[in-house]
Amino acid sequence: MEGRPAVAKGRKWQVILSGAGGQGLILAGTVLGEAAAVYGGLNATCSQSYGVASRGGFTKAEVVISPEEIPYPLVRRPDVIVALTQEAYDRQVSQVGADCLVLYDSEAVARAGRTPGREVGLPLQETARKGGSAGNTNLVALGALLGVTGLLPVECLNSAVSARFPGPDGESRLRAVSDGWGLGVEVAAGGG
């Protein structure tokens, strides 16, 4: 594909995007998977898990990204968990290993710091609101995820977002990605 950014043929990433139904987490997982598979030339799977009452209930999307074929498509041991609600954080505390990064929304998750590994709290919702729409928190989170971990060039994500939102609100969504990425890069630069 023309203009495809060079993707480091690196490691396998297992990512969980979690929060509440209605926050667009499955959409975020789809966009991340698309960014990796369609625009990054990697293999990717995205699966979803939700209860019978979707809106407001605990929801998660699991994304696996790998330069190799992905036999088992679900997350076995997460490398990163993004938590947008306190419930999402609480539910997963016990499954988090010492080498798993937890990236959480500092406004929604008040009781953090309970996992054995590295945790990063960022004002994801606030950043989305300031950018014009709290509905873009999912995209701010994706941008931040890439900024902190470098698991994929942000250009891949931009391409996936542009392709999925070709309409007039595409601009605001790209800005949400960029704002989130900025937050993440700052953390990465500062050693977080």
Binding site: G29, T30, G33, E34, A37, V38, N43, A44, T45, C46, S47, Q48, S49, Y50, G51, V52, P71, Y72, P73, L74, R76
Partner: protein, 387 residues
């Protein structure tokens, strides 16, 4: 050659496969976790001159599918456990009256309402024996989004060619899994799924006079041919008949027309994972798995090989008719067989039937609404090999 690739959900790929194969009619009653198929069908089918009908329930859905197919349109529906149960009566009608159709069952955890959004694979025997009486059963089980596309096309091909219902049997994990899918040029799909139609003069036509392959040509309702579709035991004209010889011949033919063609159908996929070089020789472990569980078994096989045990996976893409000879050959080559599945042990019974006492066969069963994991399969395997 793929015309395009897209990152899409298994359910979406099922719809794409149906459209590629030439589906023109969908009737259904949306149900988790198959609803995306109905949702997409509701816009995509009318856009290409087809019909989408939302029915009052699954019994009616199956009736509408049979009616549309009898009128000449390749037709399908999609459902999950509770809906699949309601479809059983008319599924039998489709088998007996020999009306081609495709029924997609995206399995969830049951019985009854069960766990509506959680995975299960406990409808294996229902897909075989859910409708009453002796009848043919043709069932495909995808393990990836790509296979959702490929096996849906396969399902339509055989439904139309053999004048029989075919069941596509996914599970929640695969139906909701998004992966890259290669979609062929739509032109390649033209006439893929085509049923035998009568060529001779309408006066000579009998709805159930079989061709050389055991399949009677099917005229469309509304054509100059007179069609008698009948769910009662019938003669070649479709008229009711209680003649035992006639009844025996008909039942035999219904089953034989499918069985005779299994050699041409998709059946299995083999994976081999050997230990690192220099490891002492050991008998291999064979996994027989299907649907999303095959993906977990593949990962378990990789881990097992790393531990020095040669591991094989026989992924069943076709569940019914059961791929006896493929399973037998693979099982006899291995030291023992482990059958992981998200139910209390259904396919393991078939594997035991095929393998008999010649090799040990172990079940690795899980039925609680959670997907079976590679670690669970590995743990069970180490337990039975005594490693």
């Amino acid at each position: 050659m793929a015309a395009r690739t897209a990152f899409m959900q298994g359910n979406e790929a099922i719809l794409e496969g149906a459209l590629h194969a030439g589906a023109r009619f969908f009737a259904g009653y949306p149900i988790t976790p198959s609803s995306e198929i109905a949702e997409l069908a509701s816009t995509r089918l009318p856009a290409r001159g087809g019909v989408y009908l939302q029915m009052e329930d699954e019994m009616a859905s199956m009736g509408a599918v049979i009616g549309a197919s009898a009128a000449g349109a390749p037709a399908f529906t999609a459902t999950s456990g509770p809906g699949f149960s309601l479809m059983q009566e008319n599924l039998g009608l489709a088998a007996m009256a020999e009306v081609p159709c495709v029924v997609v069952n995206v399995q969830r955890s049951g019985p009854s309402t069960g766990l509506a959004t959680r995975p299960g694979q406990a409808d294996v025997m229902q897909a075989r024996w859910g409708t009453h009486g002796d009848h043919p059963s043709l069932v495909f089980a995808p393990a990836s989004a790509q296979e959702c596309f490929d096996l849906t096309v396969e399902a339509f091909i055989w439904a139309e060619r053999l004048r029989t219902p075919v069941i596509g049997r996914a599970d929640v994990v695969v139906g909701h899994l998004r992966e890259l899918v290669a979609l062929p040029d739509p032109e390649d799909g033209r006439a893929l799924a085509s049923r035998p139609r009568p060529q001779g003069p309408p006066d000579d036509y009998c709805t159930y006079r079989p061709g050389p392959d055991g399949v009677p040509p099917l005229a469309d309702f509304g054509s100059p041919y007179i069609v008698h579709l009948n769910g009662s035991m019938h003669d070649e004209r479709g008229y009711p008949s209680a003649d035992p010889a006639q009844a025996g011949r008909l039942i035999q033919r219904l089953v034989a027309k499918v069985q005779a063609r299994v050699g041409e159908m998709v059946a299995v996929r083999h994976f081999r994972h050997d230990p690192p070089e220099g490891a002492p020789p050991r008998p291999a472990v064979l996994y027989v798995a299907y649907g999303s569980t095959a993906r977990a078994a593949r990962e378990a096989a990789l881990m097992l090989a790393e531990k020095g045990v040669p591991a094989r996976l026989l992924q069943l893409k076709r569940l019914w008719p059961f791929p006896d000879s493929e399973v037998e050959a693979a099982a006899l080559e291995a030291g023992l067989t482990v059958v992981p599945e998200m139910n209390l042990g259904q396919v393991v019974l078939e594997v035991e039937r095929v393998v008999g006492k010649r090799r040990p066969v172990w079940s690795c069963a899980k039925s609680n609404g959670e997907p079976i994991t590679p670690d669970e399969i590995l743990a069970r395997t180490l337990e039975v090999v005594g490693a």
